[in-house]
Amino acid sequence: MTLVELIADAKVRGEPERLSELIPYCRWMGISVKHLAGELLGLMTYSDMLIGNAALPALHGGTLGALMESTAIFQLLWDAETVVLPKTIDITVDYLRSGRPVDSWAKAILTRQGRRVANVRVEAWQEDRARPIAIAHGHFLILPEAVPG
């Protein structure tokens, strides 16, 4: 099966967890999709290689950016009509607190889905969802229909 067919198959079967397994970088990072209480969440399981500041210790900011960008893409694959992997146009990450060496979660909200562009915002947190450690917003290129030829 092609990637697009594998994604469609995961949607038909209601198995969003399979989306992250298709992406080599997400497997390497320990980024996965969880379907909890009817919502899709991104999870970055802690490992020592995610550390960006060994003295604190704190997660590398780039890893939280990666979790939030991945979570946005999973949400788009799940909710938006797109026949391609959404392409990131731009993403802005605000770092609110340093990430501690524990698991990190993210939730993406589709603020607006246009015909070609989706606007997404994402929050990331660790133990306490009410205290986000980073927020992001970005634009993603989607393709609702197969282009002939």
Partner: protein
Amino acid sequence: MPPRTRAEEVALLAQLNRHFHGVVPHNQALGLAMIALEDGEARVRLPYSLDLVGNPETGVLHGGPISTLMDACCGAAVFMKLPSPVPIATLDLRIDYLRPATARQDVLAHAVCFRLTRNVAFVRGVAYHADSGEDDPIASAAGAFMLATHASKARP
């Protein structure tokens, strides 16, 4: 700062790369390497790896490692602007993906810290491939970094 000889620059790069890896395990995991430094400027290489692929059909890298490369390179540029090293923390970082990266090619980043205030450093950067050069970048970045972060000072 007086101009460095090539030998001094190589020695400084080796020293900084040991720090870059020893203190920052994720830079080491990605294989990031500082390849050039000037006052307020840094260049960092991200080696292509199949582990970092975002689209398994094309082999193109995921945005995550590009973001991390830009964050690391922008941070290094801030260090090269500081009169003396202090802990820094990324306040925000915006990445624009200008065109797809080419599969199986390393990505290089060049960042410039163009403004340093008492509390904040402002940085711009680009990511590019060696063959097309930084005038035809694959991504650009703009970020702000907080200087002498309290959380860092409070701990050993």
